[in-house]
Amino acid sequence: MSHSMSVEEIRKQQKVYITVFAALGVMTVVTVAVAFIPMPIGVAVAVAMMIALFKGSLVAGYFMHLISEAKLIYATLILCVVFFIVLMALPSLTVGENVTVEPLYSITPIERDAAGAHGDTQAETDTHSESDMHAESDTQGAAGERDEP
């Protein structure tokens, strides 16, 4: 941002900030509204991230003044984005390998052990939806196989 902005330019910028605020508010409502539309999870993720990216670019461009920033900042951020993409892509390297993640518990190990100690035959369940839930973590263990796709 230039050091020598005129009063008129600053006042114009203030109106831009209010406009961006309104746009961010509207997009937040849109984000929530879209989340209630039934759609495949992949599509939902893509739509949500696109809206978040748009909102983020408004914040970065206007509030952080990136839209009129020096080239050195862009160079720094481009380098950062490259590494960020690598970071987000890293989990995909585990696909196809025998790398597992401890499945989501229907009950915690503490609850399971407590149920076993008291001779309870039915384990306590939590508030998660039970559909498609695999709760055999105690039989599979941390090195359990992932289900075949």
Binding site: G56, F63, I73, P91, S129, H134
Partner: protein, 200 residues
Amino acid sequence: MSMGLPCEVKPHPVTGLYNGKFGVWLFLASEVMLFGALFSAYVLLRTGVDYWPRGRDAGLNTWIGMFNTFVLIASSVTMVMAWASLKLNDFAKARTQLILTVVLASIFLVVKLAFEYYPKIMHGHVPGHSNFFAIYYVITGLHGLHVLAGIIVIGYFIGPGGALWKTDPEHFTNRIECTGLYWHFVDLVWIFLFPTLYLL
């Protein structure tokens, strides 16, 4: 007139920026990697299981999350307006806007702690409950700490740090701009966090 380091106020001849701004952007780049690593961990955890609950199915309140999003965005607006007011030489207005920023940030933290964390912990949804809540508490907790740090820094400039305005107004304005960059980044992280954890 600043008697400190060179290029604290006037741009550096090579970078074209004053030192603080370049420094903050470098810091924010490192922060992107910090939160990026946590998002990456979230992706790994989520794709590693057959079932992952939607935020609202796991007990997260969408409306509280949406309210907090509005609050944080509003605090970002007041922060940048404070910088604009300083550029217009209106210190009193800028100080009011900084106070408003701190108030909004505090509302965010109070809502998060009192209406989200506390009921969940009372219900037994602690980090050890499941992978979902483990990553939820880590990401939102780290973000909350960043909000708290922002409150402390902005509070400093409302208080004793404001004395710099009398001796070197341009330097003070630059410091508020740098603080604003950090604050907008905190808002930006939440803009991605909210749909990821609460809506998907």
